[in-house]
Symmetry: C2
Subunit: 228 residues, 2 copies
């Protein structure tokens, strides 16, 4: 099975699916889409206008990270890889899906969506809705939220090393994908959450993670977060 | 398998899962939760604080309508009912899940969440964040959005009778559950979307749908919608 993934390097949901594809050793061609341009051709593929979208030969376009994640497990079927990121037992799947949604939906709404929007607003010309002065209150709120999520992760991975059960799952990949676009998290926060720090380090050293390019705003310092 | 469902009669996601449980002929006890009270005991069951939550003997609490929907299919396994609302083929599942999310996430964000919040705000005492004068602009926007969703449904069900494929699926139940809490939709809108009207009528005449009690604001007329 050969895939094309329509994605954006800065999009946390795209990064989550790229990690999953790599963990499964699927080969994939990447195509960048700038969703804010709302191109007609793209909206035909995914009327919701969101990333990522997975294209596979002879299949309808597959939108939405959560839907793609389920699809990948299903096409693997009895392949040994199928249980790698989503366990086979319904009861174990509950926690993986709950955590996956915790990051793809909740962390996104509270942290990665406002941060991303704020970053793009700074980069856009004013006449196109851009704003040269970032909303620091919003960035600070997101920073506070990041800290509480890291405390949450710290409390869980302390016990068994991964977010949902005793091995890596979609939950860990989703969490790491979103954290990877937050930008620099200050040392003081990490010092308070040492188990989360170790967990994130283990994820970042995986080949799947190292294959992700750095988000385009890397080096574009996250002043609001670092300054707290 | 015997279930308890923590729900609210006005919550569209709860109504969606109640329809699914009835369509599968599962027996279920219902417990009402008022999530806005943010009761500690409830937040332990579901830290996200959302409805519904499904409780089954010896299982962890199952939160989130989409996660519950997947779980029900999985525990049915090879039971003939398993394919009733979610087909077995991965490629057919894409469209069911896409539409299910289209209503549970998108329609919710644009229509049922703002309408619900506005209704509760009117019913709450002012000192608790209530506001006796509803935001008519917000209600009008939601009404406009309902119309565009009905046109969307009208264009799809015209061809094959149901939203995703040639039989009823989770997609139809999710759409109908959300529409059922919108309140009265004016006749002019329905006249413009006759296929959607027929589709909705077929859903409303199903035993699963008739078993839902009327939302508590029924009769509490949706002036903003009706007046357009």
């Amino acid at each position: 099975m050969h895939f094309e993934l329509i994605h954006h390097p800065d999009c946390p949901h795209s990064r989550f699916i790229r990690l999953a594809l790599q963990e499964y050793h699927f080969s994939v061609d990447l195509t960048v889409e700038r969703v804010w341009e709302r191109r007609k051709e793209f909206l035909i593929l995914n009327p919701a206008g969101t990333l990522p979208v997975l294209l596979a030969d002879g299949q309808p376009p597959i939108p939405d990270a959560a839907i793609i994640a389920e699809y990948l497990v299903e096409i693997l079927g009895d392949d040994i890889r199928a249980t790698r990121l989503l366990p086979r037992e319904p009861v174990e799947r509950i926690e993986v899906r709950r955590q996956m949604s915790w990051f793809n939906d909740r962390f996104f709404a509270e942290v990665t969506r406002p941060l991303t929007e704020e970053r793009y607003r700074r980069l856009m010309p004013i006449e196109a809705g851009g704003n040269a002065s970032p909303n620091y209150q919003l960035i600070r709120n997101a920073g506070e939220a990041v800290r509480s999520y890291l405390e949450y992760i710290d409390g869980i991975v302390h016990h068994d090393g991964w977010l949902a059960g005793n091995r890596i799952t979609y939950a860990d990949l989703a969490a790491a994908a979103h954290l990877s676009v937050v930008g620099d998290i200050d040392e003081a926060t990490w010092l308070e959450t040492p188990a989360a720090w170790t967990w994130y380090g283990r994820l970042r050293s995986r080949p799947s993670f190292r294959a992700l390019e750095t988000p385009s705003w890397k080096g574009f310092s996250n002043a609001g977060l670092a300054r707290q």
